[in-house]
């Protein structure tokens, strides 16, 4: 018998063959003594193993066995990186930066609604926020520049 035939017989014993193939194998067994003998051998091996795994028990006391697990669990939780604490002033600046930007845009909007009639333009610097506006009265446009300190700069300052 070829290897593939052996494996097919095994799949038959294990119930892994599709129904149609299983029927073919079953009919083959009646006229193939070698196949039938191999099937019998596989079956007694299966039956010998079924429910006869040697029972083994942990060769240590419950407390001793658990103590090692607990130590490893606790150690792995200590090793976990703690969340980085952000100082209050950094948190405040992170809040103020977008708030300032919103305020600047609001101011720019207000300036844009002022009546146009003056030739030239004015530049208004909001030095604390790092933003300034430029209003061209002749064209009635307002430009706003916003500059933020980079995130790294904030962290460096901390």
């Amino acid at each position: 018998m070829e290897n593939d035939a052996h494996l097919k017989l095994q799949a038959f014993v294990d119930g892994e063959l599709p129904e149609a193939e299983a029927r073919v194998v079953a009919s083959q067994l009646a006229r193939d003594a070698d196949a039938a003998a191999l099937i019998a051998e596989m079956k007694f091996t299966r039956h010998a193993l079924a429910g006869h795994e040697k029972a083994v028990r942990v060769p240590e006391s419950r407390d001793f066995y658990w103590s090692k697990i607990r130590r490893q669990i606790e150690a792995s939780e200590v090793e976990r990186p703690a969340p980085v604490a952000i100082p209050w002033h950094a948190k405040l600046r992170r809040f103020l930066a977008p708030a300032t930007a919103v305020a600047v845009v609001a101011i720019a909007g207000l300036l844009a609604t002022q009546p146009v009639g003056v030739v030239g333009g004015t530049e208004t610097s909001l030095s604390d926020s790092g933003a300034f506006t430029y209003r061209d009265f002749s064209s009635g446009t307002t430009l706003v520049w916003l500059s933020y300190p980079a995130e790294e700069t904030l962290d460096d300052e901390d």
Binding site: N3, H6, L7, Q10, A11, D14, E16, D34, A37, L38, A40, E41, M42, F44, T45, R46, H47, A48, L49, A50, H52, E53, K54, A55, V56, R57, V58, P59, E60, R62, Y65, W66, K68, I69, R70, Q72, I73, S76
Partner: protein, 199 residues
């Protein structure tokens, strides 16, 4: 008081409590299933010390992954899968350290098992349960770890071919081949054990 309630609680309740950080509930789960987890590790690596380390590592992993337990199987089955995976990783590492080109060839082609005559007499007939267990254990001990693992997963864990292939990281064809030669070899070893006892 808490100890009493843990010992009377079912696995489901203990898992729920452990998932919320209850280490005492987890300790109770370890206590209930430690023999099964250790036993599976031992059946695969056949070494007490390694089985002990691997089973304890499995429990640590179980705790760390408890949030991922979706109750698709029982907790004990889920833990068993963890220890099986750890054992397979361990055996692969061990194998890399050895030159097993001949073993690999034998594993796929059947080696000497290919030439063995089919047994016509069941060597385990009329054996007492304890004796049969002992004999099977010593026969399993003589198999290569690939053959033994395929048998353990199929016969003791009742996994299908495709599930074994997924766990072992090989094709279904390889699983069938390993299982076939493992059974043939096991049959011969059992017959030899019977003969050696008779003489």
């Amino acid at each position: 008081m808490a100890e009493i309630s843990h010992s009377s609680a079912d696995d489901e309740a203990l898992v729920r409590e452990a998932q919320q950080g209850g280490l005492d509930a987890f300790e109770e789960l370890v206590s209930r299933h430690r023999d099964r987890i250790y036993g599976r590790a031992y059946s695969m690596v056949r070494n007490e010390e390694e089985a002990m380390d691997l089973s304890q590592e499995a429990w640590v992993k179980g705790w760390q992954r408890l949030a991922q337990f979706q109750r698709e199987s029982s907790f004990a089955t889920w833990m068993t899968r963890i220890v099986i995976n750890l054992c397979l990783d361990h055996l692969r590492k061990q194998k890399r350290q050895r030159s097993e080109s001949l073993d690999a060839l034998n594993e796929e082609s059947g080696g000497v098992e290919r030439l063995m005559p089919v047994l016509t007499v069941n060597p385990t007939e009329r054996l007492e349960r304890g004796e049969l267990r002992q004999r099977i254990d010593s026969a399993l001990n003589q198999l290569s770890h690939e053959h033994r693992t395929a048998l353990v997963l199929h016969e003791f864990e009742e996994m299908e071919y495709k599930e074994i292939a997924r766990v072992m990281g090989c094709s279904i064809g390889t699983v069938m081949s390993r299982l076939f030669y493992a059974r043939r070899k096991l049959a011969v070893i059992l017959a030899d054990l019977k003969k050696s006892e008779a003489t």
